[in-house]
């Protein structure tokens, strides 16, 4: 058995390792595949579908699809980019993302993806759902308006923190993150030091009293697009 699996991403031959997913192989080769629910230290979940690529012409989520020999992967055609742009726009209209007063603005991965894709306005009508804010915990709060159901907090709390604080309830538009206490977040053993808090890509799960520590304009994605760290690793 050979030690590497040859695949092609956007016409570039990449030597992937057995057991790697398409996304891991692309990262190692310095090719950025946009993603939201994927996080390096967590079990892949395949929730957001932003990392959709065409594998031999068929759409597949790059974060869960393992590499196989002779795969021809399309990560940059207009068709693939349109899929992704539509998903990002849908995420914006189905929640209440008020960027101008969100503490996460500039560090938000959803916003950063929209910036990277040059989205100036979503083409879908806004739904303006009625959602709650749970500020019952002394140190942290959950703003369901901003939640995109990526399950990063669910996986981090379960696998890294070992607390199982978060989980999903409901279906379709009623689906939301719930906590493992009868009342609300204040009744759980969640703490401000939990990995689950660092890992939220948007401003849904936040620490209290640390807002605006870094001024707007100097934040992660204010000057460089999301994914440029992966792309520059290729240049070296």
């Amino acid at each position: 058995m050979s030690e590497t699996i040859p695949i092609t991403i956007d016409g570039v031959e990449v030597q992937a390792k057995p057991g790697q997913t398409i996304l891991e192989a692309a990262d190692a080769a310095g090719i950025y595949i946009p993603r939201l629910c994927y996080q390096k230290d967590l079990v892949p979940f395949g929730a957001c579908r932003v990392c959709t690529v065409l594998v031999n012409g068929r759409p597949q989520p790059a974060c869960t699809q393992p590499v196989a020999p002779e795969m021809v992967i399309d990560n940059s055609s207009e068709k693939v980019q349109t899929y992704r742009r539509n998903i990002i726009e849908m995420l914006f209209v189905e929640g209440n993302h008020f960027c101008m007063f969100c503490e996460k603005s500039g560090n938000c991965e959803l916003q950063a993806l929209a910036y990277r894709f040059g989205i100036t306005a979503p083409k879908y009508p806004f739904l303006f759902p009625k959602r709650e804010v749970d500020a019952s915990h002394p140190d942290i709060f959950v703003d369901h308006n901003r939640c995109i159901l990526c399950a990063r907090c669910v996986r981090a709390s379960r696998d890294v923190d070992g607390k199982n604080v978060f989980g999903f309830v409901g279906r379709g538009p009623h689906k939301k993150v719930a906590v493992n206490a009868d009342a609300n977040l204040g009744g759980t053993d969640a703490a401000a030091t939990d990995k689950a808090l660092d890992i939220c890509p948007v401003g849904a799960l936040m620490r209290k009293r640390v807002g605006y520590a870094v001024p707007v304009g100097q934040r992660d994605y204010d000057t460089k697009p999301i994914g440029s760290d992966i792309e520059t690793s290729k240049a070296k």
Partner: protein
């Protein structure tokens, strides 16, 4: 040849985007050489005096007057630009969209902690524009050609868009100028 005309208005917005237009600083002298301002709060012209090349719209549609003004703009302008997040997604005014309109009015005029209203009347004079059931982004009411995101968009974003259009080019914003905050 007559200079192209630019019209601006503020619907349900805070005039922050107009402040951002003024914030183009000394370039405004160059802008005045390039265009004439038509209906706009900047020169206080209330009615269109003719066909405009560009209409800049700040704010979303919160009442029937906003819709009327917006439709007038669509009728009189070749290119309509949504300026700022209120025009694009409703923003702060749209935060009432999660609350039924009656509850909003009751809170404002009857039940609010600082309200003194012995007659118990909610203002209903026919002169006051009727509120819509919710605040609408302007592209849900008329066709919009370009969007300048930001709260407000930077002066550079507005300058970039205006000069591109006046030079006959499409509006293309570089990464640094696309901001939602």
């Amino acid at each position: 040849m007559a200079k192209p005309k630019v019209a601006t208005t503020s619907l349900a917005g805070c005039f922050g985007c107009h402040m951002s237009i003024l914030d183009i600083d000394e370039r405004i002298l160059k802008l005045v050489e390039l265009v004439d301002f038509d209906k706009s709060p900047i020169n206080d012209i209330k009615k269109f005096t003719g066909r405009c090349a560009v209409g800049l719209i700040e704010g979303g549609c919160a009442n029937e007057e906003n819709v009327e003004v917006l439709r007038e703009f669509r009728k009189h302008c070749d290119v309509l630009i949504a300026v700022g997040e209120c025009a694009i997604m409703g923003d702060i005014p749209a935060m009432r969209n999660m609350v039924p309109l009656k509850e909003c009015l009751d809170e404002a005029y009857l039940n609010g902690p600082s309200v003194y209203n012995p007659s118990g009347q909610v203002p209903n004079d026919p002169e006051i524009p009727l509120l819509l059931n919710k605040v609408y982004p302007i592209n849900e009411v008329v066709k919009i050609d370009y969007f300048l995101p930001g709260c407000p968009p930077s002066a550079d974003t507005i300058w970039q868009a205006l000069t591109a259009l006046l030079g006959g080019k499409p509006v293309e914003l570089p990464y640094e100028l696309i901001k939602y905050d």
